[in-house]
């Protein structure tokens, strides 16, 4: 089976040593653990792969080192400029847990900026969703024109490049998507170390999916390598956020450790990673009065995140000393007491009101909990066509008074073609609740358009509230400086505010649902009616009618028999 071939004739051009010219690749991994005030634990993994390349030029031959080949091929084939995809199981409870580092709506969310060289954006989008559906084992292939929108203001590119033409942007959500192990496995495969080494060894699916909230995401965008932006590179950020409920395991003791949550401990960093760190948020616990972390670490770090200066204990996994003498790291947190938390400044809620199966009303509530500052928010609503919005009933009110939006972009739906898109810019007064209501009518679907199990109801994706929230501390605007990954995702343009995106709950709406054996019943009934009419007509046309002598009665017959026996003529 083995073969060899002399290459004496071919080796006349020795390839030059070009090690210096090799595009640089970089991989970082990070885990942030934040004890929540509800007593839950929030763990946020971030893995970042940087791939230095000139992405604007179409390069046919592509060689991948740390960057996964499958995603690289997708980027180059579909001329993607930015790709953001998230799969979430459960709903992030902002009021109890505060803001997440990376927000995501329940179900699947996908938004993509294409490069301006793409001519048929809709066709490319369709193909891309199908390919991604294969890569992530998800039902992204159900994304079609009826649930895709082009937001005009809410989703700006997060990477470099000033694209303003939103015809290259596509946004879709699948609120019904259920996230499970089969989505996690391909996600883990994209990591250079897989789940063999580094922080990824903690990602055991039986523990991760036994949690209150699970969200995994992939973000691809072009970023600058240096502050002058001389070199650019692709950034692949894989994030996984999980909230563990400490009360359900129910040992009574509020105690948390890596082993207890992930059924694994850490023994090494991924050898390919240039940095591998664990951060534990100890801001609310400066003197150790609330909880106690062991082993203790002398390393402390401060980071500006979500408008707040937080303090973290840092465990550097690339240092052998972190693992101690047992060569394994098992972080442990013991609670002593609990305390009320700071309320999040921006918060959103949504519900359906009304009764019956004909009309209804969508209520969206936006809370500004800032005591004295008002700030504008962008609200994006994408409602499927089978809820027919009455846009003239749209009201925006805060503190009982009409609050006129300064910008409204509304795109009406087309039946079976595209959904409603409603975007508006609303100023939220300080310490207030702003309520947006709009009435709708429920449409009757064709009988093949119902989903399996239609009596469960139909999902309407989350509203998206994007805002620059006034910050208490000065934010860091230099995006290229070395900083923890969790605080560097949304680029910060000014020091006085920070960007926040809040997703509301998805809605579950009942539509009038027929009995699905109906078509056959109707066929049978109609046929019977037709047959009855036809039968009588047929009889009228073909039968000839005549009077028959009625047959004699029983008494007469008996009398006749007797008369016959007697020889008398019958009656």
């Amino acid at each position: 089976m083995a073969i060899t071939m002399p290459l004496s004739s071919i080796i006349h051009k020795q390839p030059q040593k070009q090690r210096d010219k090799w595009p640089s690749n970089d991989f970082q991994e990070e885990l942030v653990i934040r004890p929540l005030h509800s007593g839950d634990i929030y763990a946020s993994f971030q893995f970042r792969t940087l791939w230095e390349t000139d992405f604007m030029r179409g390069n046919k031959v592509s060689h991948y080192r740390l960057f996964p080949k499958s995603l690289g091929q997708v980027i180059s084939k579909f001329s993607v400029r930015e790709l953001h995809i998230s799969f979430t199981q459960g709903y992030w409870r902002t009021m109890q847990w505060g803001q997440p580092f990376l927000p995501s709506p329940p179900g699947a969310e996908l938004w993509v900026w294409f490069q301006d060289s793409v001519t048929d954006v809709d066709g490319t989008w369709k193909e891309l969703t199908n390919v991604l559906s294969g890569i992530f084992c998800a039902s992204l292939n159900f994304i079609d024109s009826t649930n895709t929108v082009q937001p005009s203001a809410s989703f700006k590119p997060l990477g470099i490049g000033n694209v303003t033409d939103h015809s290259f942007l596509r946004y879709a959500t699948l609120p019904r998507e259920i996230v499970c192990t089969e989505n996690l496995t391909p996600w883990k495969k994209l990591l250079p170390c897989g789940s063999k080494a580094g922080l990824a060894v903690l990602l055991k699916s039986e523990k991760l999916f036994h949690s209150s909230f699970h969200s995994q995401a992939v973000h691809i965008r072009p970023v600058c390598q240096d502050w002058q932006c001389k070199t650019t590179s692709w950034e692949l950020r894989q994030t996984l956020n999980v909230v563990f409920d400490l009360h359900t395991p129910g040992q009574g003791k509020r105690e948390w450790s890596l082993f207890k949550m992930f059924s694994r401990t850490l023994t090494e960093a991924c050898p390919l990673a240039s940095s591998s760190k664990i951060y534990i948020d100890i801001t609310d616990n400066p003197q150790g009065e609330q909880f106690e972390v062991s082993p203790a670490t002398p390393l402390l770090s401060q980071a500006m995140v979500l408008g707040d200066r937080r303090t973290f204990s840092v465990y550097d996994l690339t240092q052998q000393i972190t693992f101690g003498t047992v060569r394994s790291l098992n972080l442990l947190i013991r609670w002593k007491s609990s305390e009320d938390m700071l309320r999040p400044l921006l918060h959103g809620e949504r519900y359906v009101a009304g009764y019956g199966l004909q009309t209804g009303e969508i209520h969206t509530l936006m809370y500004n909990n800032h005591p004295y500052r008002s700030f504008p928010v962008l609200l994006l609503d994408s409602v499927p066509w089978y809820l027919r919005l009455y846009i003239h009933t749209l009201t925006v009110a805060s503190k009982g008074k009409d609050n006129k939006p300064s910008y409204i972009h509304y795109q009406p739906s087309k039946d079976r073609v595209r959904p409603h898109l409603l975007e508006m810019l609303v100023q939220l007064p300080p310490n207030s609740v702003t309520e947006v209501t709009v009435q709708f009518e429920r449409a009757l679907l064709k009988w093949t358009e119902y989903t399996p199990d239609p009596n469960h109801g139909f999902y309407v994706g989350s509203s998206v509230i994007s805002s620059l929230v006034p910050s208490i501390v000065a934010m860091d605007t230099n995006s290229t400086r070395e900083q923890p990954l969790f605080s560097s995702f949304f680029p910060c343009k000014e020091e006085s505010s920070y960007f926040v995106r809040v997703y509301t709950e998805p809605l579950l709406v009942n539509l009038p649902t027929p009995d699905f054996s109906m078509p056959y019943n109707v066929i049978c009934l109609t046929c019977t009616v037709v047959a009855v009419g036809y039968g009588s007509l047929y009889n009228l046309l073909t039968r000839s009618f005549q009077i028959d002598e009625p047959s004699p009665g029983l008494a007469k017959r008996i009398a006749n028999i007797i008369r016959k026996m007697r020889g008398v003529p019958p009656l």
């Binding site: 070009q18 031959v61 084939k77 046309l541």
Partner: protein, 574 residues
């Protein structure tokens, strides 16, 4: 319903007055006529209407042409030009040139397809021998088109060839043939050619196509004779013909903690692989990429051989190596072309050196193996780089020349470029900078054209058969269009093969294969496939049964009455 009808009848009964017998027969006649006309309307209007409205749309397909394709004869012909150098032909023979002569040779492959190989040795030229120095100048002499051959006949005493060699095969489409002493006895050029014929035939088989090539190309269509295991293995090694291939080089590093590997794959691909692919561009499109996979393990644990203090992989365990690795390789997201995988495995420090052993327990010198229609794996041992004082991870630069030599040879095999063993007395030119001689490309194109024609024919005929068998399938216009274009391209390809225009033949055969695959895998064919008949009738019966039963009954009654009447007439006559 029955009681309802009876009720109506009894209602009517009261309204009808006494009827005389002639009235009675008259009204009975009227009833019979009404029943007959209703039956006629149902049969002449209702049934066609129902038939037309529930019919599945089936566009017209060129069935007769497809059936013709199924038992078509393929004829391959190659132009062979024989050029006599000075000193090989006597003056009186010279007068007779030029002349053309055709030689047919029929090969039957299992009775299904008959291949006729035709070669036309044309004697047209008479050149000065001094010009012929080397292969390159042979090429400048005449740029022969794709698929044709030029054979230069040189005198016996010529010093161009070594003593014991009779035939020299160049890099282009040329060959040198030394004329034997006994061959000069012929009076005419015909006789001379007749002498040369076996040699020319041999040259043709090496440089264009032979019976075994064509049989291998047809192996999917024609059952090979059992017992010919070697040739089956050979024919199954190469990838099936496809309009494009994806070539992926993967560097497997199972232990990134102990070594950091650097490979200059960009440069290596440019230097070694790209020239070959550029040369092969007429055959298929190729796209290249590479990746590095960490913590990728082989599926088997190598055995430690204490005698040589090395780990060994036996040839029978190689089959289990690929599967666990393949899960990591990832499928190609961007296209559906077949992928050729080339893996470079660098064993970790605890399992090195690792050697592959063949059937005879001998170390394989290249330390590589390939898997048919999948790709190749090479094991690259780096234990020489570890020094006791080295700090982990060790930086290692991979010698790409060594690696690419093995991968290039595997690539040639997997693409079906067979380095056929030369018959005795043949001298092959060393392969040039592209790694592929012109005539090797021709050989590949011959077998690919034949394979494409055979595959497209099979696809189209089986599609036609399937559509013929299952009447439920909707045939849309675009499918009919694809089928027709596939059939036309096939006919053109066959015609071009017959004419010896290899380039066009390959082009048409590719078009045929693409159109036929598109038609065969069109999703619209599946739409109504699973609409079972029993469900259809369950819907029709509530309408059809009550409508047809009265008609049938009254027809039966009319028939029986007519029969009775005839019997009465018969009785009256008697």
């Amino acid at each position: 319903m029955k009681s309802l009808l009876i009720g109506q009848m009894s209602l009517k009964r009261k309204g009808v007055s006494h009827t005389r017998p002639e009235d009675l027969t008259k009204s009975r006649r009227r009833g019979q006529l009404a029943a007959l006309s209703i039956a006629a309307v149902v049969i002449m209007v209702g049934v066609p209407l129902w038939w037309r409205t529930t019919e599945t749309y089936r566009a017209w397909l060129p069935v007769s042409q497809i059936n013709e394709l199924a038992n078509m004869q393929l004829q391959l012909s190659a132009d062979v030009e024989v050029v006599f150098a000075r000193g090989t032909v006597t003056p009186e023979q010279q007068k007779k040139v030029p002349l053309t002569q055709t030689q047919d040779e029929e090969h039957t492959v299992d009775g299904d397809l008959i291949f006729k190989a035709v070669c036309d040795p044309m004697v047209t030229k008479y050149e000065d021998c001094k010009l012929i120095h080397a292969d390159l100048s042979l090429h400048t002499l005449s740029e022969s088109p794709c698929g044709s051959l030029v054979v230069y006949v040189i005198p016996e005493s010529s010093s161009l060839l070594p003593e014991d060699m009779d035939v020299y095969i160049g890099q282009r489409r040329t060959a040198l043939l030394r004329i034997g002493a006994q061959m000069r006895v012929g009076r005419t050029v015909e006789q001379l050619l007749a002498h040369l014929e076996p040699r020319i035939k041999q040259v043709l088989q090496v440089m264009s196509f032979s019976h075994t090539d064509i049989t291998a190309a047809l192996s999917d269509r024609v059952r090979l004779s059992p017992g010919n295991k070697e040739s089956i293995a050979d024919s199954m090694r190469a990838f099936k013909s496809s309009p494009g291939y994806e070539i992926t080089f993967s560097l497997l590093n199972p232990d990134p903690k102990s070594h950091r590997l650097h490979w200059d794959i960009e440069g290596a691909v440019q230097t070694y692989i790209q020239p070959l692919l550029t040369k092969l561009a007429p055959v298929a499109n190729f796209s290249l990429d590479s990746q590095t996979l960490y913590y990728a393990m082989l599926g088997v644990n190598p055995r430690f051989d204490s005698s040589s203090s090395a780990y060994t992989l036996n040839s029978d365990s190689l089959a289990h190596v690929i599967n666990p690795v393949e899960a990591r390789l990832g499928s190609n997201a961007a296209s559906s072309n077949p992928v050729l995988n080339f893996l470079l495995y660098v064993p970790d420090a605890h399992h090195s050196p690792l050697y592959i052993h063949d059937n005879k327990k001998q170390e394989v010198p290249s330390n590589a193996f390939h898997s048919p229609r999948w790709g190749g794996i090479m094991v690259y041992n780096v234990n020489g780089f570890y020094r006791p004082e080295a700090v982990l991870p060790v930086d290692i630069n991979i010698n790409m020349a060594k690696v690419m030599g093995v991968f290039l040879a595997q690539l040639r095999l997997l693409l079906g470029v067979q380095s056929s063993t030369a018959p005795p007395g043949f001298l092959m030119a060393p392969c040039g900078s592209t790694g592929l001689a012109d005539w090797e490309l021709d050989r590949l194109m011959w077998s690919r054209s034949v394979e494409n024609v055979a595959t497209a024919t099979t696809t189209i005929t089986s599609l036609a058969q399937l559509l013929d068998q299952i009447g439920n399938i909707v045939i849309n216009d675009n499918i009919a269009e694809q089928v027709s274009s596939a059939v036309t391209s096939l006919q053109l390809a066959v015609a071009e093969l017959e004419a010896g225009n290899l380039g066009f033949a390959l082009q048409y055969s590719k078009e045929a294969i693409m159109a036929s695959e598109r038609a065969f895998f069109d999703p619209s064919l599946l739409h109504l496939l699973y609409f079972p008949d029993d469900q259809k009738f369950a819907i029709y019966i509530p309408l059809f049964l009550p409508m047809c039963v009265p008609i049938l009954l009254s027809l039966l009654k009319i028939v029986s009455e007519a029969r009775q009447k005839r019997r009465e007439k018969q009785a009256k006559k008697d």
